[in-house]
């Protein structure tokens, strides 16, 4: 069994490299010649160690430094004038006094420039960030990120045809500007079809002209009714009107429904590029109560499923997949918890509820709407055969709803958020 000396015992509890004053004692004890000078230094050093034990810092090193400051050896890491010195100013003296009998580790070891022992901590004269360096670093980061994005870029991006039904009201500017900014950020070509209830107005035209994207502004003569149900019906009609425009003009791209109060994430536009004919995405429903008693916290929504919904969780509407990632059904909005509490009129203070399946969760290839296209899938209905009043969700455009492609990792990613906020009945609409 190995005898552990006191020295080694102290190493046991620490990471290697302890270098207390005991080390030189060790090495000098091993030396063969115990000259009186060596003994004297030994005793003096021991005394200094005791003093520093009491005082709490390496007093002996400082003393040695001041005594030997005129005869500093040069084979150590030297402090140059421009460098600021810390309390560790005893570099040179240390190495000289600590390693009297250590034959290796100094520059004496053939050719190495790496020295064992104490080194100085180099600090430059002004150790603070340099703004030019920071700028350069940010440029590098931006270049790296651009390269990262390019790896995932879509080949042959298609035009995004956004369809937005709107009408003039208190919060119109608020909502529509949100859509304007979202569309401005889309990295693909955008054609924006704005359908307005109550005819084309200058207010709306002013807002959408700020977007800088190609817009088609259509008016529908009917005015927006004051009930949510009526509004849903009229909006459906307006969207179909827009789809007819797509068909007439033979616009090519991907049609998505950007309702003016919804919140769209940029990933949505990337994801819908992979639509072949008809796709569905998951929508997070931000159904809030009209009053001050808001839900305190929303749980994470990413993988939230309707059936497992607790009071705090956000409901998600969208495609549901089975284990082999094929479309198996739909998560729809369950109005049960809000029974009797939902808003009827647009300016009510109660909770506004979405429909079972919102239009915004669907995207389709504009060629589905065209007349006389040979490779149109047989499971889609012709737009002309759709009766306006009957349509509740774009699924009615399909004969076979099982052909819908689930997007966003099979519906697991929530790519947009549904929200309906309208002004209260007693709000004053700024005139003019």
């Amino acid at each position: 069994m190995m005898k552990l000396s006191a020295l080694q015992q102290s190493y046991l509890n620490r990471r290697p490299g302890s270098f207390r004053g005991a080390a030189p004692l060790d090495s000098s004890a091993d030396g063969a010649n115990k000259s009186p000078a060596a003994v004297f230094w030994l005793v003096l050093h021991g005394l200094c160690c005791l003093i520093s034990l009491v005082l709490g810092f390496r007093f002996s090193r400082l003393v040695f430094f001041f005594i030997f400051s005129t005869s500093i050896t040069t084979n150590t890491n030297h402090f140059m004038a421009p460098f600021r010195q810390l309390t560790t100013t005893t570099t040179a003296a240390d190495v000289a006094s600590d390693l009297p009998s250590n034959p290796v580790g100094d520059a004496a070891l053939n050719g190495t420039r790496v020295v064992v022992g104490r080194h100085g901590i180099r600090i430059r004269p002004w150790p603070h960030p340099d703004p030019i360096e920071v700028m350069k670093a940010h440029q590098i980061i931006e270049r790296v990120q651009r390269e990262q994005r390019n790896q995932f870029v879509v080949k042959n991006p298609r035009t995004v045809i956004a369809v937005t039904p709107t009408y003039v009201r208190t919060f119109q500017t608020l909502h529509l500007t949100g859509v304007v900014h979202s569309l401005m950020l889309v990295p693909y070509d955008v054609v924006w079809i704005v359908v307005e209830a109550g005819g084309v107005t200058n207010e709306t035209a002013a807002i959408i002209s700020k977007s800088g994207v190609k817009t088609i502004h259509i008016g529908v003569d009917e005015k927006m009714p004051n009930t949510w149900e009526g509004r849903h019906k009229l909006e459906a009609k307006m969207r179909l009107r827009a789809l007819r425009v797509v068909r007439e003009k033979r616009l090519d791209g991907i049609v998505m429904f950007a309702d003016d109060s919804n919140v769209h994430s940029m990933e949505l536009f990337d994801e819908i590029q992979s639509t072949k004919w008809f796709g569905a995405v998951s929508i997070g429903i931000l159904a809030h109560s009209g009053g001050a008693e808001e839900l305190s916290s929303f749980a994470a929504v990413e993988k939230e499923v309707e059936e497992k919904e607790k009071k705090q969780a956000i409901p998600v509407q969208g495609p549901a997949c089975n284990a082999s990632s094929k479309l198996a059904g739909w998560h729809t909005f369950d109005p049960q918890p809000y029974e009797g509490n939902s808003a009827i009129f647009i300016d009510d203070r109660a909770t506004v509820l979405p429909m079972k399946l919102e239009w915004a969760g669907f995207v389709l290839n504009s060629r589905l709407l065209w007349k006389d296209v040979e490779d149109k899938p047989h499971w889609s209905r012709d737009l002309d055969s759709v009766v306006d009043d009957d349509i509740e969700s774009p699924l009615s455009l399909l004969k076979d709803p099982s052909m819908v492609e689930p997007l966003g990792s099979c519906g697991k990613q929530v790519l947009l958020w549904w929200l309906r906020v309208e002004a209260r009945a007693d709000s004053k609409f700024p005139a003019g």
């Binding site: 190995m2 250590n102 430059r124 150790p127 590098i140 270049r143």
Partner: protein, 415 residues
């Protein structure tokens, strides 16, 4: 005449083959380390060498592991996994007469303190005892005095068997291992503890743990420089200057308030995820020059910034580290920000592409079970490249080159 034609045709074929091999395409966004160095990573050692594994009593390996299972997870675990890999590898041969290399499974880095740090004090005796055993029970050690044997010594300073550099240098490499090939993590040029012909391997990093912390590649890299670890070893060197030769302390003092440098001593749970969001990861020396950070940086695609003078990196003959990482001298640490921002963006992108190469990442890992191209195979490749053995290593019977009684007296006690 005909022979000459045959030879000429052979040369032509060979030339055609070589030019084909070099002209292999690059797959964006990863880049193949082209040329002889990069292809070497994908060599298959099976069939190129034969390794005989000595059957040592379990007190040298299994019993030690049983005493402390932590040895399987710490950064020195390579010695254990190497043993397990060799036992079931196709390069293993049960007939020592046809073996090219001999492996001695002795776990010298498994005597752990309560904190988990290995104590090297008994290791020389353990190694010596193992060698005495193999030299008395088999004739192969005496044939060459160990020149065709290899040992895995992953401790701080390799076969010098001490954690303190000065003591390690004083001891030097264990006398009996002076002719053998050492597989170690330590590597520093012109250092006593790095023998000519040693194979440097990366420290062990748990592959499954790293795999489970991968984040989508799309996540933008927004951190410029990342580092988590000690700057001052407060327990052993509170003023700084010894630990890391003052380099880590210099990093802290110069860049602690620099927003580009995300450096601190915390242990966040998102350490691996953060590395994947960083462009540069610092890999400074500690008490020894090597560190698992290098492995982590390579696996997570973060460009390693190596601050360790004269360090020899793992598999340096197979991996062109100069092209993949950034080397900063310890004396240049105060100018680290200038150095890093003055690297042209194309170079940075190229380094990232090289790092994205899966064979790079695989070469740094010790997966269980072993996979082609991993660190086990690179070690075998390294051993295979040293074949055939030079005739001069074979000694005459009875001839002794090594001095078996050299070294500190404490080493001679039986284990």
């Amino acid at each position: 005449m005909e022979i000459r034609n045959c030879v000429f045709a052979l040369i032509l074929c060979h030339a055609a083959f070589v030019s084909c091999a070099v002209g292999l395409g690059r797959n964006p966004p990863t880049e193949r380390i082209s040329g002889s160095a990069g292809d070497v990573l994908e060599d298959d050692p099976v069939g190129r060498l034969k390794v005989f594994v000595y059957e040592l009593p379990s007190k040298y390996n299994k019993k030690i592991l049983q005493k402390d299972q932590r040895c399987l997870n710490h950064m020195f675990a390579a010695e254990i996994y190497m043993h397990r890999f060799l036992l079931s590898s196709p390069v293993r041969t049960l007939n020592p007469a046809e073996a090219d290399w001999f492996y001695t499974p002795v776990y010298t880095t498994c005597d752990l303190t309560p904190n988990g740090l290995p104590l090297p004090f008994k290791s020389p005796r353990m190694m010596r005892s193992a060698i005495q055993l193999i030299s008395s029970n088999w004739p192969y050690w005496n044939r060459t005095e160990g020149a065709d044997h290899f040992f895995v010594v992953p401790h701080d300073f390799g076969a010098c068997f001490h954690y303190q550099e000065e003591k390690a240098i004083e001891r030097g490499i264990l006398t009996m291992l002076r002719r053998a090939t050492l597989v170690q993590t330590f590597g520093q040029r012109n250092h006593v503890c790095l023998k000519e012909g040693s194979i440097t391997v990366p420290p062990y990093a748990p592959p499954q743990k790293m795999q489970s912390h991968l984040i989508p590649e799309k996540t933008p890299r927004a951190i410029f420089v990342y580092f988590r670890g000690l700057f001052y070893d407060v327990g052993n060197d509170p003023e700084g200057g010894y630990y890391a030769r003052g380099a880590r302390a210099a990093v802290w003092e110069n860049f602690k308030d620099n927003p580009l440098f995300d450096i601190s001593t915390e242990h966040p749970t998102t350490y691996y995820e953060d590395m994947q969001r960083a462009v540069f990861c610092l890999c400074p020396l500690g008490w020894a020059p090597w560190s698992p950070r290098l492995v982590e940086a390579v696996v997570f695609g973060c460009i390693p910034v190596i601050i360790a003078d004269d360090i020899v990196l793992p598999f340096a003959d197979a991996i062109p580290w100069e092209e993949i990482g950034v080397f900063v001298d310890e004396k240049d640490v105060p100018n680290l920000d200038t150095i890093l921002t003055s690297i042209p963006p194309e170079t940075i992108l190229r380094k990232q592409r090289l790092l994205a190469n899966p064979s790079m990442k695989q070469a740094m890992l010790f997966p269980q079970p072993a996979q082609p191209g991993d660190a086990f195979h690179q070690v075998l490749n390294g051993l295979a490249r040293k074949l055939p053995h030079d005739k001069s290593i074979y000694l005459a019977p009875g001839q002794k080159v090594l001095n078996w009684t050299a070294g500190p007296v404490g080493d001679l006690k039986p284990w």
